[in-house]
């Protein structure tokens, strides 16, 4: 027994050393591995670890709403879903395909075609579908088909407000109109942040904000939805009734310079822009130029009055209704004899206006046109606002000075014309226009003497009385002042014989002007084409409704207006 014990105790000493060595080696290996992981591969491992719980979230910015002056929505972004697929993952049975096609309202063959597009690992089946349709698609549970939330812009006003508001593209960024002009404020900024999510996908901790996001701000326009609707309706029916190619109308608040309504016809539906033509899209009021014709005469006369060369009662000889300057003859539609300056405007005599203009220095005329805003684009922040054409006075020939007196040889936009008329409505002050709600009276820029502006205002009131060119512009209850215009259209550098642009610009109530309205119809071809017959009734209709909507006090007796059988025909 003792021998056996002895044998056990006496193990060879190397065995213990081997064990020690093995253990030591194992620890050394662990240590090295730890060193390798902790020191050398630490970044990679930390990244992998974080990927298990940390997520970067994109925060899309919601586009701001566009509202009218009383807060009615004119453009709102609302979420829709887009259905997309990974073609290689999609397994479709015939039945599923038919269901999908029915839900998305597209032929089954088109789904096949989209899925079969070679070399694509991401394809949109349909963008911007209604949320309930998207839910139904999700309920089919087809592998490889997913959906994604997007925003779609809706325009409840449809064609009524289309030209002012414009529209956005499929990615919700502005492409036309106010949507484009105010893209910065409306669009906002998409943000992103890193968060920690738990097992159930709930966010438990905000780690960092990578980019601070911001939703787009709402934009309140100066537009009054009711007046806009009224204006569009009146313009549209006039364009149809007179078989005109197009028309434009703008309503300006004299005190604040706010644009209360701006309508164009033909229009388009911004919610469905499948078949759009350039003609429908153009905002004629702001971007199109035309020769204004007689609506420019008041400026010539105002300048003559201001310079003291004439008074409203100065006689101007206009017979025999023609005047020849350097091979060019100016005509009056209805030749009259000697007319006072006030009658020249009332009867809209071209010869009279030309004679008055020729007594004025070229530079002064050019200067006044510049000061009332012709030749420079209005600072409206609207894409494509036209500046118009006003040549430097140094290049004017006498005949050009004469024709410019009655609005030929110069081109303006309807908006410029409306703005220029604020000079008469505000005792000589030109008011800057704005599409965004201001809510406060705007400071004007004095460009004409108060006396001259008031004298022209009185003449403009005469021009809509019986015996003037625009009696159909009158309305019951309010005094109106304004001027008709009928201009031959320019085509390929010369004037077309039977194509006209009919216009009317005026304001009311004449005792304390509140609104300026400018109306223009392009190529009325149903017989009538004089501004007094085509454009003036539209003016009257919109002015009457707008003044009533705004609750402007009456300044004329409420008596039915007698319409004369024959109204004076203007010359241009």
């Amino acid at each position: 027994m003792s021998a056996a014990t002895q044998g056990l105790v006496r193990l060879p000493p190397w065995r213990a050393r081997v064990v020690l060595l093995v253990l030591f080696a194992a620890f050394a290996a662990l240590g090295l591995r730890a060193l390798y992981l902790q020191a050398l591969r630490t970044d990679f491992l930390q990244e992998k670890g974080e990927a298990r719980y940390s997520r970067v979230l994109e925060i899309p910015a919601i586009r701001g709403r566009i509202l009218d002056r009383s807060g009615e929505a004119l453009a709102v972004s609302t979420p829709v879903k887009s259905i997309w697929a990974i073609p290689s993952d999609v397994v479709l049975s015939a039945k599923e395909r038919a269901k999908l096609a029915a839900l998305l309202q597209m032929p089954a063959a088109e789904i096949d075609r989209k899925l079969a597009e070679a070399g694509r690992d991401f394809v949109y089946l349909k963008r911007q579908v209604a949320p309930d349709v998207a839910d139904a698609v999700a309920a089919l549970g087809i592998k490889g088909i997913s959906e994604q939330r997007e925003f779609r812009r809706y325009y409840p006003g449809g064609e009524v407000t289309a030209h002012v508001i414009g529209f956005t593209g499929i990615d919700d960024s502005g492409q036309e109109g106010v949507e484009l002009a105010h893209q910065q404020t409306l669009g906002g900024k998409a943000g992103s942040r890193r968060v920690i999510k738990d097992r159930l996908g709930r966010i438990v901790e905000d780690v960092e904000s990578i980019r601070a996001g911001q939703d787009g701000a709402d934009l309140t326009l100066a537009l009054d939805a009711k007046i806009q609707s009224l204006a569009f309706g009146a313009l549209k029916s006039a364009v149809e009734h007179h078989h005109a190619k197009a028309g434009g109308l703008v309503v300006v608040d004299v005190q604040s310079g706010e644009i209360l309504a701006l309508a164009n016809a033909p229009s388009f539906n911004p919610n469905n822009r499948a078949r759009l033509t350039g003609a429908q899209l153009r905002n004629r009021v702001i971007t199109d130029l035309f020769e204004p014709g007689s609506t420019l005469k008041p400026f010539t006369i105002a300048l003559a009055l201001e310079s003291g060369r004439v008074s409203p009662s100065t006689l101007i000889e206009t017979s025999p209704g023609r005047m020849t300057i350097a091979n060019y003859t100016i005509h009056d539609a209805h030749p009259s004899g000697a007319l006072t300056v006030a009658q020249v405007l009332q009867k809209s005599s071209n010869v009279g206006a030309a004679k008055i203009a020729l007594g004025l220095p070229r530079e002064a005329m050019w200067d006044l046109f510049r000061r009332v805003g012709f030749g420079t684009a209005p600072e409206l922040g609207f894409p494509g606002a036209a500046a118009g054409r006003l040549r430097n006075y140094r290049t004017w020939h006498p005949i050009e000075q004469a024709t410019m007196a009655y609005g030929h040889g110069i081109s303006v936009s309807l908006l410029q014309l409306a703005r220029a008329y604020t000079v008469f409505a505000r005792d000589g002050e030109l008011v800057p226009l704005t599409l965004v709600k201001a809510g406060a009276p705007a400071a004007g820029e004095k460009v004409l003497s108060t006396e001259a502006a008031r004298e022209v205002r009185a003449m403009l009131e005469l021009a809509v009385q019986p015996g003037g060119t625009g009696p159909r512009a009158r309305i019951m209850g309010w005094r109106v002042a304004g001027k008709t215009g009928t201009a031959h259209k320019q085509e390929n550098g010369s004037y077309a014989a039977n194509k006209y642009i009919s216009s009317f610009v005026g304001f009311a109530p004449a005792s304390a002007p509140r609104l300026v309205i400018a109306v223009m119809l392009d190529e009325p071809s149903a017989g009538e084409y004089y501004g007094g017959a085509v454009a003036a009734p539209v003016f009257a209709q919109v002015m009457q409704g707008a003044l009533r909507l705004l609750g402007v006090p009456h300044d004329a007796p409420l008596e039915p207006l007698e319409l004369p059988g024959e109204e004076a025909k203007e010359s241009t």
Binding site: I62, R65, E72, A73, L74, V76, S77, T78, P79, Y154, P156, G157, G158, V160, D198, R202, I203, V204, E205, D206, A225, K226, S229, L230, G233, M476, G477, Q544, R548, G551, V552, P553, H554, L558, E559
Partner: protein, 94 residues
Amino acid sequence: MAKLNLLLLAVLVACALGLVTSQHRSRKLFSDFEREQARARELDIEYGRLQLEASTWGLHQRVEKIARSALGLRAPDPRRVRIVPAIVPPEPAR
């Protein structure tokens, strides 16, 4: 000495538990906060949708059409309309 150590150990354990609980509470609160924020966003979107709906129903042309055809309303003769100023001056208090 041993007693002090034990006491410190107990304090340490208590602190550790406290930290765990407060961390948990903070995460829970944060997730609630997130949920409410998401709800606020959804409500804002819903508000936009309702605004859109209201605008569509209240479209001027639609109202006018219904007023004219279904209800047989018409604009009164201007002679029968009297316009009163919107702001009535306050009567002197006496």
